[in-house]
């Protein structure tokens, strides 16, 4: 089935299609109308999963020239596994990327990556200093979680940590994603949380501030980022394992979704915040 949306809202349908074709799913983007940073990073993660299983993604690229150009300028195509097949050459060049995508491989590299992405934000939104700082803070916290949590025992697989920043008409979108052991896997390293399931792990981490650390009060960065994002009228979404957490304004919900490895986090902040530092 051709996908019309490859984004936060449409990803569950896409994942169901990809699962049935694993490890050589046909990703039909020929009718694609809309994509976002979240959908793109899931595509890269899926490509990496397929390659690890001895397969490869098979891509039908968008027919709409504007959507196709957007995808090419996103910076995401060069991150797809080399074995990816596509019905046309995969071009990843572009002068002004809609999406800045980076791989987060080692903790030592995180600050440099954040510095580069922050410079991109500062150049784009010179009057949005406060919100740029908030996104920099979120990037620092979320990106370091990949080397610290996604594969803490150095198992022979690539957690494929990715970070994307996307500027849209009404909001700025930050996504940090990996396909590592997930929140539950990380939390279970702390004996207090061995009996949790995916959904309750999400609540424990995001609402109660639970962490892998034995000493009470350590960790809790995800909860803090969630609080800061909400304070600025943003949206916060985390998907991990079989659970998904979504919050907008004061209401939050935790739902059950199809199993997918790792942690994928979406932070959306209103664009107006980046245009005037004093507005909240």
């Amino acid at each position: 089935m051709p996908l019309r949306r490859l984004d936060l809202l449409g990803i569950e349908r896409a994942l169901a299609d990809w699962r049935s074709g694993h490890p050589r799913p046909l990703v039909d983007l020929s009718r694609l109308e809309h994509f976002d940073a979240y959908g793109l990073l899931m595509l890269v993660l899926e490509g990496s999963r397929c390659a690890e299983s001895g397969g490869a993604l098979r891509l039908l690229l968008p027919e709409d020239p504007q959507v196709r150009a957007g995808l090419e300028r996103s910076g995401v195509l060069p991150l797809l596994d080399d074995r990816t097949w596509a019905n046309a050459p995969l071009r990843g060049d572009g002068d002004v990327p809609l999406v800045a995508v980076v791989r987060t491989e080692a903790e030592e590299a995180v600050t440099d990556l954040v510095d580069k992405l922050s410079a991109l934000l500062r150049a784009r939104f010179p009057f949005g200093e406060r919100s740029t700082h908030l996104l920099s803070l979120a990037m620092l916290e979320l990106m370091q979680n990949v080397p610290q949590h996604a594969n803490p025992k150095g198992a022979p697989f690539d957690p494929c940590g990715l970070c994307a920043l996307q500027e849209l008409e009404d909001h700025v979108h930050l996504v940090v994603a990996d396909k590592g052991i997930g929140l539950l896997g990380s939390l279970r390293r702390n004996a207090r949380y061995r009996r949790l399931d995916h959904a309750s792990a999400l609540e424990a981490v995001l609402v109660d501030g639970a962490s892998r650390f034995e000493r009470p009060g350590r960790g809790g960065a995800l909860r803090r980022i969630r609080q800061l994002v909400l304070r600025d009228d943003g949206e916060f979404c985390v998907r991990t394992g079989r659970g998904a957490f979504y919050q907008r304004e004061v209401e939050w919900t935790v739902g059950r979704v199809a199993l997918y490895p790792g942690v994928q986090i979406s932070v959306r902040l209103p664009r107006r915040l980046f245009q005037n530092s004093s507005r909240r």
Binding site: E107, E108, V110, T111, V114, D115, S118, H133, S136, L137, M139, L140, E141, Q144, Q148, G209, R215, P216, G217, R218, G219, G220, A221, R224
Partner: protein
């Protein structure tokens, strides 16, 4: 008590955005080295000027862990302060200290009087404020001011000293014996 042998530790020399636990661990090692050279009564002031972003993870690893070490294993009569250009700069640090039920003396902006960043129970807050206002207080004076027992006041002062939020000086009483006097710490 004016800080003797105070040293300034500028975080911005490590970068304007500090966020990872790895960086935090390195900075803490440097902080503890600086601490080792402080004389009795000396203070190390961690200066946040020039910082754009200071993450909670970094703060936890570098500063909150340093405070925990100071209280558990650190040399006596040495003090750790933080100087922040604005309360917002120190916000995440304050949240982390609160989560760990720890506290740190802070100078914010151009304020000349210190405040406590992090967690300080109300019964200790009132005692700490009185010591700050009056400059120095014995247990008896504090007991009279708060309307609590002398023993209760002594416990409050001892706890504030353990948290490195006041200094305790032992003095001889006119009628014999000794008593402790809590002295406010000044930048």
């Amino acid at each position: 008590m004016d800080m003797q042998g105070g040293r300034r530790f500028r975080l911005s020399s490590y970068g304007a955005r500090l966020g990872t636990r790895l960086e935090g661990g390195r900075v803490r090692a440097d902080l503890l080295r600086e601490f080792a050279g402080l004389p009795p009564g000396g203070a190390l002031v961690v200066d946040l000027a020039g910082m754009e972003v200071l993450s909670g993870s970094f703060s936890d690893e570098a500063l909150v862990e340093a405070v925990a070490w100071l209280l558990e294993d650190g040399p006596p009569e040495r003090y750790l302060w933080v100087a922040a250009p604005s309360l917002e700069t120190a916000e995440d640090l304050g949240a982390r200290l609160t989560a760990r039920k720890l506290a740190l003396l802070a100078l914010v902006g151009r304020e000349r009087t210190p405040r406590v960043l992090g967690h300080l129970p109300p019964y200790l807050q009132s005692a700490w404020k009185l010591v700050q206002e009056r400059g120095a207080l014995t247990s008896r004076e504090l007991a009279e001011a708060l309307g609590v027992s002398v023993q209760g006041a002594a416990v409050r002062l001892a706890e504030l000293e353990r948290l490195r939020l006041v200094a305790l000086e032992r003095e001889t009483r006119a009628m014999g014996g000794t008593q402790n006097r809590a002295v406010a710490l000044r930048p």
